[in-house]
């Protein structure tokens, strides 16, 4: 196990270096941020001073070397736009993104596993068919479009349809169309999860981000359910006199969790990437919104820093999933021991 982890870590370092070089040269070869950041009527002396201040007067390879040197000390340069350390900027935005991703995962798992188990337990029922049709929609609808529809339904025209349905004004609700609510503090942890307004702001973007994963969890759970229900140990447990409820909720559930945990773990990284779109739609002040704004302004240090942070996150997530997998599945654990 230790050898395995060490080997994986060494591979990761190689990937990290390759990515940093590709990203750095790719980002720095294109466009000239001087033209964006310095007023067009600035004279030559002013331009030269600004370029020196930003370190843009040196050759690209020298800039890269300086960058690698700094990266090892976790200093990825200063944002051209904000004037503060790029990595600091990203770390500031990270909690907002994590909040969104975690809540969306809770929604996807909390709804997806029960729905998928039902769809797999009674595959021919009308309910199961509705769930599966819904999951196809979840796969094929573009995230940003669903987000817009959620805003339209629950924020912009919420009062209209509720009045039309005859809901008394005192009971009507309207969710905020974007932004993040105020933060609360519980046990020293700052999060907008701990205030009512924060939860209200979080609900629509989290639901939006969850839909794709929800469809995925439903499909995985249903497939696992249908395969597992046919196995001998299920028949044996029934023959032994266990109730169907216990067989499904204890024995079957444990076994179908293995593929679900693996896939979801790997999807955690892509969820952080997908948050880019949701954050843009809902004006959520996370890392994704930051990268879109930075691309718009060609704020190169922030783009590079964001990418490296994402690569590091991916590497950590993949490693954790591999370890978790071996803990969950006794076959893998025993094989590793032998």
């Amino acid at each position: 196990m230790t050898v395995f982890i060490i080997r994986r870590l060494m591979q990761s370092v190689v990937v990290l270096f390759a990515m940093s070089a590709i990203v750095f040269f790719g980002v720095y070869v294109v466009g000239n941020p001087v033209e964006i950041l310095i007023a067009p009527d600035a004279d030559e002396a002013e331009r030269a001073r600004a370029m020196k201040a930003l370190g843009l007067d040196r050759p690209v390879w020298a800039q890269y070397l300086a960058f690698v040197e700094n990266a090892l000390g976790v200093d990825l340069g200063k944002s051209f736009v904000f004037g503060i350390s790029a990595i600091e900027l990203i770390l500031q935005r990270m909690p907002a993104t994590f909040e969104l991703v975690i809540v969306s995962f809770v929604i996807a798992i909390g709804l997806g596993i029960p729905l998928g188990m039902y769809a797999g337990y009674k595959p021919n029922s009308a309910g199961a068919k509705t769930i599966m049709a819904g999951s196809i929609l979840g796969f094929s609808l573009p995230t940003f479009w669903v987000g817009l529809m959620l805003i339209l339904t629950f924020a912009v025209s919420a009062t209209e349809w509720q009045t039309w349905l005859g809901v008394p004004p005192a009971l009507q609700f309207q969710l905020p169309a974007g932004g993040r609510g105020p933060e609360g503090s519980v046990l020293g942890v700052q999060s907008s999860l701990f205030t009512w307004s924060g939860l209200g702001h979080l609900f629509l973007p989290a639901l939006n981000l969850a839909l794709f994963k929800l469809a995925l969890v439903i499909r995985l759970t249903r497939a696992g359910m249908r395969e597992t229900m046919l196995l001998d140990y299920v028949k044996y447990a029934r023959a032994k006199g266990l109730s169907m409820r216990r067989v499904v909720l204890v024995h079957v559930l444990k076994n179908i969790m293995i593929p679900i945990v693996t896939v979801l773990g790997l999807e955690l990284g892509s969820q952080i990437a997908f948050a880019v779109v949701t954050e843009t739609v809902f004006a959520w002040p996370g890392m994704g919104k930051l990268i879109i704004d930075s691309i718009d302004k060609l704020d190169r240090p922030v783009i590079v820093a964001y990418l490296l942070v994402i690569v590091v996150l991916f590497i950590i997530i993949n490693l954790v999933v591999d370890v978790l997998y071996s803990i969950l599945d006794p076959r893998v654990r025993l094989a590793a021991k032998a």
Binding site: S140, P142, W145, L148, I151, L152, V156, T280
Partner: protein
Amino acid sequence: MPEAVLPAETAAVPARSEATWLRIWREFAESRGAVVALGGVILVILAALLAPLLAPQDPYDLRQLDILSNLLPPGSKSAAGYTHWLGTDDQGRDMFSGILYGLRISLGVGVMSGVIALLVGMTIGLFAAYAGGRVESFIMRVVDVQLSFPAVLVALILLAVLGRGAEKIVLALVIVQWAYYARTVRASALVELNKEYVAAARCLAFGPGRILFRHILPNCLPPLLVVGTIQTAHAIALEATLSFVGVGMPLTEPSLGRLIANGYQYMLSGKYWISVFPGIALLIAIASINLVGDQLRDILNPRLRR
């Protein structure tokens, strides 16, 4: 002696093709949803191809745009005498015309990148399967790494580097998608390579190019077709997403995603039509291509064949 090895198949080839198409169609038509979806695909393609004939207005011709008739709700009469069935946007552009032309761009970019990615991925996948050994494992490792990063993110970064424009989006989508095709083709080519007809072709001293493209490739086409259909739908959705966040198509050539992004700011003030109608068009395109792809997968999958 290929005839001796494969008597049934060789004999069946001339008579087979028509009956096969008929059988495929019959199996395809078993799902009514898939037939409706196929109708949707045809409708969308026709709308895109015939956009200049169907649209009451050329949305790129600035002389035809009347800034005074901007933000009209659906059903309003235009100054030129026709009805804006889907309203107008902030430039006074007829939304129906805008959607038809936008569909042209979205489908064009999606299909173009799908075809190029298919050709590139197919060639690389076939090559990997045939070469074997280190070359193969290197190529497949690249594929694995590529697929472990989410497509949205890779495309976003590529476009941040490349800049805006249709050909740059196509390039980014090809880079994101070739790996799916390479993986698919390699998997089926590996199975085919072990079959006797390949050994027979080798005995006849056919070159690797001829064996790969004339003999192995046709047998790898069914899964490739399925992946191609679904990846094209993905490409269209991805282009729309990228254009929506502002790194895709430029404002002068609005694809559906760009139209939706454009209407987003007006949606909060209740002017829903600028975003909603292009969204519905996008939805019909993506959902019907996906459903057709799903049904194709079911009928072409030998494991599910009855």
